[in-house]
């Protein structure tokens, strides 16, 4: 089981290794999965701060009732752009970055299957995000009809200005970028695995990404189609969604959420994968229920395709539709419950230690479950009429995205940065970052449940005075959370530049090599790895599936 630890001796003295290109051009033309992974991650981090700044504008405006800082149109641009930047610029690219770094290391592959396409997907992402950002400076401002781009609102001049076609082409570029990324990931996992690694030996991070990649290929093109229809409706007199010409705006909602619901799992499944990787290492136990984790992931992915209309219970669906989408949605709680149970069971009687990545992972399990519960509440169609389009929804999806996806991305940073850079991060500041984040994120989002239940609508720059207190508390939490993330930025830069100065071992974390192939490589990870595939793969993580 631990024989793989010595495996790296082979390639440490590979003579044909050559380092990266010199100079800045290295980053433009690189086809190395580690370089591309690094670029994805740093780009996502930058977008996290840009999207975060937009969130700060939103919370500042909502600090008190009345209009203080921005006009309503710009406020609406901020909510729209915050969502688009965070989803397509921060969370998704960050996970693609992790996939780039980790999948080849974890499955014993030399690189991604299609390295040039890999480079292209990254630069297309940059182009797409720049195109999106350019709309901020256009006449009429950035799109402000909400990230869902619902017609007829989004087609009206007042909500788009000149920005709509740019936003749509940006979505096309981002879509092409993620589809290429997904194709690459699938090809890598299927064709580049070390011969010794069977499918059911793969670490869960690899499994969850494989399934996510299929989701991406299935739904990103549908989204591209939906926005193309918006484009032709606006400029070429088609009537997909224009009632006067025989179209139906509700059709857009169906197409959008056919993409949109799997999209939320695209952001959460890799999160599950990372959590399933980190928790066993710090619980010093194999992951509980490996096979059930794989099946739960696959079931969630399948179910994600057949529940979309729970986002639109209030649209005037027939009772049969309401009931079907209600029950189908509730079923998702079963595989998700299996996962939460397995993480808890993994920690049960484990010899746990609480380094920063583990703290973030535990917070993820607890807070994601809270977000899941509110999701279950909303799945009940009759109750959803009360919750629909209120801050309760905002609270729900932020619980499943911020203390879940974002926390786990940070956990991943703390967990793997020492491996990638060979430097240890500052544990004290890491823990400070964790505690500030976990407390402030709850001050930020928990009161939004109350606001929503009391009837405060989403996407409004001003509100009735009875909502003032909780909004102020939420804003204070938001400012603390936003400021705390600067600590993360500091830690990332500090770790890259040398960290604590402590030389990390190849395993970094105690007995980590039992859990994953990447820990059998030297630290910092050499520029080229697994030029000879490993012959023995660690099976600790799949122990109870064999």
């Amino acid at each position: 089981m631990s024989a793989a630890v010595d495996e790296h001796d082979h390639h440490a003295d590979d003579h044909h290794d050559h380092g990266p290109e010199k100079g800045l051009l290295r980053w433009v033309i690189t086809t190395n999965h580690k370089d591309i992974g690094t670029m994805y991650l740093l780009f996502a981090l930058a977008m996290f701060f840009i999207g975060g700044t937009m969130a700060m504008v939103i919370r500042a405006e909502l600090f008190e009732p009345g209009l203080q800082f921005v006009d309503p149109a710009f406020f609406n641009s901020m909510t729209t752009m915050h969502a688009l930047v965070m989803v397509f610029g921060a969370v998704m690219p960050a996970f693609v970055g992790l996939a780039n770094w980790q999948i080849p290391l974890m499955i014993g592959a030399t690189d991604m299957a299609l390295p040039r396409m890999n480079n292209m997907s990254f630069w297309m992402l940059v182009a797409g995000v720049l195109l999106l950002a350019s709309t901020l400076f256009m006449e009429g401002g950035a799109p402000n009809g909400g990230w869902t781009l619902y017609p007829p609102l989004v087609l009206q001049p007042i909500t788009v200005g000149k920005a709509l076609p740019f936003a749509i082409f940006s979505v096309h570029l981002l879509g092409i970028s993620s589809i290429m990324g997904a194709i690459n990931i699938i090809a890598t996992i299927f064709n580049m695995r070390a011969p010794a690694m069977k499918m059911m030996d793969m670490p869960l991070f690899v499994w969850t990404w494989l399934i996510t990649a299929f989701l991406l290929i299935a739904v990103m093109p549908v989204f591209a189609g939906a926005v193309t229809m918006l484009l032709t409706d606006k400029f070429f007199h088609t009537s997909f969604f224009n009632a006067a010409g025989g179209g139906d705006p509700v059709l857009y909602e169906h197409i959008f959420w056919f993409f949109g619901h799997p999209e939320v799992y695209i952001m959460i499944l890799p999160t599950f994968g990372v959590a399933s990787t980190i928790i066993p290492v710090f619980a010093r136990k194999p992951l509980f229920g490996y096979a059930s984790m794989v099946w739960a992931t696959a079931s969630i992915a399948f179910l994600s395709f057949i529940v979309w209309a729970h986002h639109m219970f209030t649209v005037g669906m027939p009772i049969a539709g309401e009931l079907y989408f209600m029950y189908a949605t509730m079923i998702i709680a079963v595989p998700t419950g299996v996962k939460v149970f397995n993480w808890t069971a993994t920690m049960w009687k484990g010899a746990m230690t609480f380094e920063t990545p583990m703290l973030f992972s535990i917070a993820f399990v607890v807070l994601f479950t809270l977000g899941g519960f509110t999701g279950l509440m909303m799945s009940i169609a009759p109750s959803d009429f009360q919750y629909h389009d209120t801050y309760f929804i905002v609270a729900h999806f932020h619980y499943t995205l911020v203390p879940a996806s974002v926390f786990i991305l940070m956990a991943a940073g703390y967990f793997w940065l020492p491996k990638w850079t060979g430097h240890m991060y500052n544990e004290k500041i890491g823990q400070l970052h964790f505690w500030l984040s976990v407390i402030s994120v709850n001050i930020l989002f928990f009161p939004q449940h109350f606001l929503g239940l009391a009837g405060m609508p989403r996407r409004i720059p001003d509100y009735a005075v009875q909502f003032a207190d909780w909004n102020m508390i939420s804003s204070v939490g938001g400012f603390i959370f936003g400021a705390s993330q600067l600590l993360f930025l500091y830690i990332v830069i500090d770790t890259i530049r040398g960290g604590t100065g402590e030389k990390v071992s190849d395993e970094v974390w105690e007995d980590a090599a039992k859990h994953g192939l990447e820990w059998t490589l030297p630290s910092p990870t050499p520029y080229h790895t697994w030029t000879t595939p490993p012959t023995i793969v660690p099976t600790e993580h799949v122990l109870d599936s064999h």
């Binding site: 299957a113 299609l114 396409m117 009206q156 589809i179 997904a182 194709i183 690459n184 699938i186 090809a187 299927f190 064709n191 580049m192 290929i217 299935a218 739904v219 990103m220 093109p221 549908v222 989204f223 591209a224 189609g225 939906a226 229809m229 007199h237 009537s239 997909f240 224009n242 009632a243 006067a244 010409g245 025989g246 179209g247 139906d248 705006p249 509700v250 059709l251 169906h254 197409i255 056919f258 005037g316 669906m317 027939p318 049969a320 539709g321």
Partner: protein, 183 residues
């Protein structure tokens, strides 16, 4: 060995690319699929432009029931018209026929084509609201500055469940002059 892996990768990538292109097509296929599903017995969702010209059947008038029908008239923002109903609301008995006049005026010096789209609240009663005559059945042509009086004749099917006491019927006029129209 190395070459065969590269070939496998390219082959798989091609297949997956085809799947992606296929899914783009599927997005468009959802449009006709939606049309079909809206007709399903279990769904029966009225499309905005559904034209249901009902024959004038003699129903038994239910004089004991009274339903309030409210009329709303809306102009899509770019439609240069005046548009209103002769009355804001009407108390009706299910089974009895009524006629309400709608007035519309073209405020421009040019000929325009406009289309009125109906919408019901609650949406599910639309199947009991039977129109014998309506300006919403066809696209309307307005000459420059023309004023039209357009009668809308309807009956509420007495089978409509008791729970519905108030029905709101709204019409939105869309300026269709520059748009190609389906049909």
């Amino acid at each position: 060995m190395k070459d065969s892996v590269t070939n496998k990768n390219i082959k798989l990538a091609r297949t997956l690319l085809l799947v992606a292109v296929g899914m783009f097509g599927f997005g468009y296929a959802l449009v006709p699929i939606y049309d079909v599903l809206c007709e399903w017995k279990w769904i029966q969702r009225d499309r905005p432009d559904d034209i249901k010209k009902a024959p004038e059947i003699a129903y038994k008038v239910d004089v004991n029931r009274e339903v309030t029908v409210e009329f709303m008239t809306i102009l899509n923002e770019s439609t240069p018209m005046d548009f209103h109903a002769e009355t804001k609301s009407l108390k009706v008995h299910p089974g009895e026929y009524y006629t309400v006049n709608f007035y519309a005026k073209n405020k421009t010096n040019k000929e325009i084509k406009a289309r009125a789209i109906a919408s019901f609240s609650p949406a599910l009663i639309s199947q009991y609201f039977e129109k014998i005559e309506c300006f919403c059945f066809t696209e309307q042509n307005f000459k420059a500055n023309e004023v039209k009086i357009m009668p809308m004749r309807f009956v509420i099917n007495p089978e409509m469940p008791e729970q519905y006491k108030t029905i709101t019927l709204s019409y939105t006029f869309f300026d269709n002059t520059e748009r190609s129209v389906k049909n």
